[in-house]
């Protein structure tokens, strides 16, 4: 089982992000990391939360347009060149990264990289062949 990212459609207007955050806060759902990709009128909020299915159901009930996306999470040593070597794995195999973002784990020793690929399984195989540990669902999600 892969990591589930929650993707939310947001109009670029005051209060829209806040509304989403309130829905999650009211249900005590924790956000590990988030990123927003935006154009002038709207944005796409991408989040990793501890309980993605519960968060999805809660947002749906509020008529928020959202979806669940399979992503890969990899824990990297926080050292120079680590990300370069990781991305090289994908380049060698012509695997295109749709987008990526990162956060630091609780202990501050590792960077957790989140990757979105068209072909998640191919990317996963590539990482395993190069000896990387792909994070499991239970490492991040609690449901």
């Amino acid at each position: 089982m892969n990591i589930t990212q929650l993707s939310v459609f947001l109009e670029n207007k005051p209060g829209r992000l806040q509304h989403i955050l309130k829905v999650l806060a009211d249900r005590a759902i924790n956000i590990q990391t988030l990123t927003i990709a935006e154009v002038s009128d709207f944005g796409i909020l991408r989040m990793i939360v501890n309980k993605p299915d519960e968060a999805y159901a809660a947002l749906k009930a509020e008529h928020v347009t959202c979806s669940r996306t399979d992503v890969l999470a990899v824990a990297l040593e926080d050292t120079p060149g680590a990300l370069y070597r990781l991305v090289d794995t994908f380049s060698k195999r012509s695997l295109n990264i749709e987008y990526m973002y990162a956060y630091t784990d609780r202990h501050g020793e590792h960077s957790i990289m989140i990757f979105r690929f068209d072909d998640v399984e191919a990317a996963k195989r590539a990482l395993q062949e190069e000896g990387y540990t792909v994070m499991r669902r239970s490492d991040i999600h609690t449901e």
Binding site: F9, E11, V39, F42, I44, H63, T65, S67, E98, R116
Partner: protein, 434 residues
Amino acid sequence: MFSPDLESMNPAKRKELQLERLRWSVRHAYERNAHYRKAFDAAGFHPDRLRTLDDLRRVPFLTKQEMRENSPYGLFAVPMKDVVRVHSSSGTTGNATVVGYTRNDIDLWSTLMARTIAAAGGSSEDVLQVAYGYGLFTGGLGAHYGGEKLGATVIPISGGNSDRQLMLLQDFGTTMLACTPSYAINLVDFASKHMPGFDFRKTRLRRGIFGAEPWTEAMRQEIETRMGIDAFDIYGLSEVIGPGVSCECSAKRGLHVFEDAFYVEIIDPDTGEVLPEGEQGEIVYTSLTKECCPVIRYRSRDITRLYREPCSCGRTLIKMDKVRGRSDDMLIIRGVNVFPSQIEALLMEIEGVEPHYQIVVDRRGALDDIEVRVEVEEAIFSDELKVMNALSEKIAARMRSILGISAKITLVEPSGIERSQGKAKRVIDKRHLN
């Protein structure tokens, strides 16, 4: 057929009947109503001069403006003691117009609606859920009286309250639904969002009669597929009588006009000249038997076409096309005529886009700006920006190639667009051109 003798009448015989009734109607209006008398006199027309149907062309038009000016009772042609009901148009622009009915008018209207329901395959076996609004609006009571006249079982639930609509539809064994097409789609959406176990195919619903606003073939297909029913277009306007002016039959190819009750002409909206059969223009109505509010050459502003063709249903009544739009609703954007219904059809064609949209027209400097706001449902949502951008570009490109206008496409959150329970508010025109 509810009235087979009138609906499948020999066309030459029908013309004789129309002429006889038209002469009565024009004389009735002239002798019993001051406005008509004044208008006919001013145009130098006297009812004695009406010898053929074509002589009607010498009679002046009745405009919506004149109707408003004579509101509420100025166009009545009977004493108030004979008026048993009034209705009023929704009055989307300016003042509402008021129409009255005698007992005979109500009977005529009920019969026309019974004919409409029967043309859609309804019978006394049907359970008819009337989800048009009841009240001053003619939709609810029109369908109600028609259903009763036919002998169907009528559920007078009126509009709105979607969860209750769906519960009754299931529990009362509704076989036929009457509402606006946008409300039908609203009901399907509501069921899929809030009632996960609800399956229209497991209900007894088989057909629906939808009207009171222009709608497209694409909307028909969506309603038919998602509800698992046959959807029929019904048409009418309160100024003429309400619903029951024309309706589709089993062929679903054009709407039969009830010519024994209404005489119809197509005119050029700019010159007022009567156009030959088959040409598109503004449809003009003359009532043939109405007592309280006879309408003589009423300019509807509705744009359509009239034509005759043999119909598989056996009716010999003239057909009109689905109304493309009102000449009032028609938007002129940088000189291009655009009907909201065209934009709707285009959105429906692009896979997955549900027809929840709004058109905003504004003027910046000397140029018109058109913005189409499209709601993003999960079906068309992607976590990738490039996919979302491609969607707006595709809509914009289709509008350019099909309608010839450049529009700004804005993707908005669901229900960010005002959605009424009845008629959807599709257009916001901020230009204040008048």
